[in-house]
């Protein structure tokens, strides 16, 4: 373990230690927050009872579907738009301001149209994630140096061959940035949607526990989601760094 990771670990442990002390000494009242150690114990009990698994299956399932469509559709749209420079220039201002629209206001509307099922949640996760994928696909294709395409032409490669052998491999690190963001954003979208209005899932379980003043369950689930999402995001982040390093960028 290098020095930076060590310091980082110390900082994080110290943060939770401080929380623990503040909670134990009653400076933070138990009605506001329970000590982190109790959260972990509660979480263990919840996992053992199988309650977490049910919510998790639903949430992860929705995230996976939203993510899959965001990545495939985002890539296809990105590649398509990139091929038509005039369309791309016209769309650019919309893509850059897209995330300024607080998308969750559409969620109640979607529930209203499609009913209280998984579909509106997947839709919100998809809408939230797809544009990140489109933007990063465009970025990746923009960055391909002109000379690479010239080389392809010199070798008399066709359009498909150029795409598969030259453009795609070069754009992969950027495409992966898009994938990473798509995963993170679908998580945010789906969990926030569950939180606001939903038939089930982890976000719903937290909001249900909040409504019932069940702080123990609520904090256990919060801890669970935060740890789960951090592990997933950080693994993707680490892999992205490796891809970028391999290309020497």
């Amino acid at each position: 373990m290098n020095r930076l990771t060590l310091i980082r670990t110390v900082v994080i442990v110290a943060f939770f230690g401080l929380l623990e002390i503040l909670c134990r000494t009653g400076i933070i009242s138990p009605f506001t927050m329970i000590p982190p150690s109790e959260m972990a114990v509660e979480l263990w009990l919840l996992i053992a009872s199988g309650e977490v698994a049910r919510g998790m299956r639903q949430t992860l399932g929705n995230v996976a579907v939203a993510c899959f469509f965001a990545i495939t559709v985002g890539f296809a749209v990105g590649a398509g738009v990139h091929a038509v420079p005039r369309l791309r220039r016209a769309l650019d201002p919309f893509l850059t301001t897209y995330y300024a629209v607080p998308f969750f206001v559409f969620y109640p509307l979607l529930v209203f149209i499609f009913g209280m099922n998984n579909f509106p949640m997947i839709m919100i996760g998809f809408l939230f994630a797809v544009v990140a994928m489109i933007i990063n696909t465009l970025n990746g294709l923009d960055k391909i140096p002109r000379v690479y395409r010239k080389v392809a032409r010199m070798h008399h490669m066709g359009r498909t061959k150029t795409a598969l052998l030259i453009e795609l491999p070069y754009a992969i690190p950027n495409l992966f940035t898009g994938v990473k963001l798509a995963v993170a954003y679908s998580f945010i979208g789906v969990i926030a949607a569950e939180f606001i209005l939903a038939p089930g899932g982890l976000g719903y379980a937290i909001s249900f526990a909040y409504d019932n003043f069940d702080n123990n369950t609520m904090y256990a689930l919060m801890l669970f989601i935060l740890v789960l999402v951090t592990i997933i995001n950080m693994s993707l982040h680490a892999y992205e760094r490796r891809l970028l390093r391999r290309q020497g960028r």
Binding site: L4, I7, R8, V11, I12, F31, T32, M33, R86, L87, R89, A90, L91, P93, F94, T96, T97, Y99, A100, V101, P102, F103, F104, V105, F106, Y107, P108, L109, V111, F112, I113, L181, A184, F187, I188, I191, A192, F195, I196, G203, I206, S207, A209, Y210, M218, L221, M222, I225, L226, V229, T230, N233, M234, H237
Partner: protein, 262 residues
């Protein structure tokens, strides 16, 4: 008329280009409205109100006295949250950018926090701040503070060392160095951070309003849902979206200008 061909200068060409570009943007907007109209025709009035009906309802709302306190509440929460996010973000970002070790330790933590579904923390915020505007402000601020911190950190980290050395040569005081050197040099990046921060802060405030709130635009949407009032719901959404895009576009314009200058 003989001179017409000759005076067709580059400037005219640029103007024609610009006109075509604006025309293309207008076409995109038209496309969105057409898709919306088609969706309306497919789903009917109970689910999606037509673009025209929504625009009319939005006009009514903008003219009604009941609407403005809610808009004001959202705007107030947004402004407070943004100010808090900027103050903390610029402060912490400057520290992390200037002190190399702290920056290296904090960066992955910031990245992890950035992509967290912060909505899970909302009950905690509610328990600390209660059900009023304070919770919305705090929730908006925790969304906005991270991008501002990251952008400021990178700006300070990548500042040209020669600037700082000249500051020392000219014996500027710390205060002078900050106002004359550090701030102007990092401003473009801070504005970029502000732009991203604005979007996320608004998102935070609106999510806060959708969930246990009694005032604000988000609350109006939720109440309209409860009353099955589709046109109001869509009109509020439209007003919010247009306002957000307008503010974001202005920030984008400033952002681009500042970046071009340096």
């Amino acid at each position: 008329m003989a001179g017409t061909q000759a005076t067709y200068s580059r400037k005219d060409h640029e103007r024609a280009e610009r006109l075509r570009y604006l025309g293309d943007i207008a076409l995109v907007i038209l496309g969105i409205v057409v898709v919306w109209q088609i969706l309306h025709m497919l789903a009917g009035d109970v689910a999606i109100s037509s673009p025209l009906a929504t625009a009319i309802r939005a006009g009514e709302l903008l003219g009604s006295a009941n609407f403005w306190p809610h808009a004001g509440e959202t705007a107030k929460a947004l402004v407070y949250a943004l100010v808090i996010a900027l103050l903390i973000g610029i402060g912490v970002g400057t520290w992390l950018g200037a002190h190399k070790l702290s920056g290296a330790v904090a960066e992955p933590i910031l990245v992890a926090l950035y992509s967290l579904p912060k909505i899970t923390l909302y009950p905690l915020i509610l328990l600390i701040f209660g059900l009023g505007i304070e919770a919305k402000i705090a929730f908006g601020a925790i969304h906005g503070v991270i991008p501002v911190t990251i952008f400021t950190m990178n700006a300070v980290k990548n500042i040209n060392r020669v600037f700082l050395r000249s500051a020392r040569v000219m014996k500027l005081t710390t205060m002078q160095t900050v106002t004359r050197i550090l701030l102007p040099a990092t401003l473009p990046e801070i504005v970029s951070g502000l732009r991203v921060g604005f979007s996320l802060t608004l998102l935070g405030v609106v999510i806060g309003e959708l969930f246990s709130s009694h005032r604000g635009m988000g609350f109006l949407v939720m109440r309209a849902i409860g009353l099955h009032d589709v046109s109001t719901m869509m009109a509020v959404t439209l007003i919010l979206a247009v306002a957000a895009v307008a503010i974001s576009s202005i920030l984008l314009y400033i952002d681009n200008r500042l970046h071009r200058r340096t």
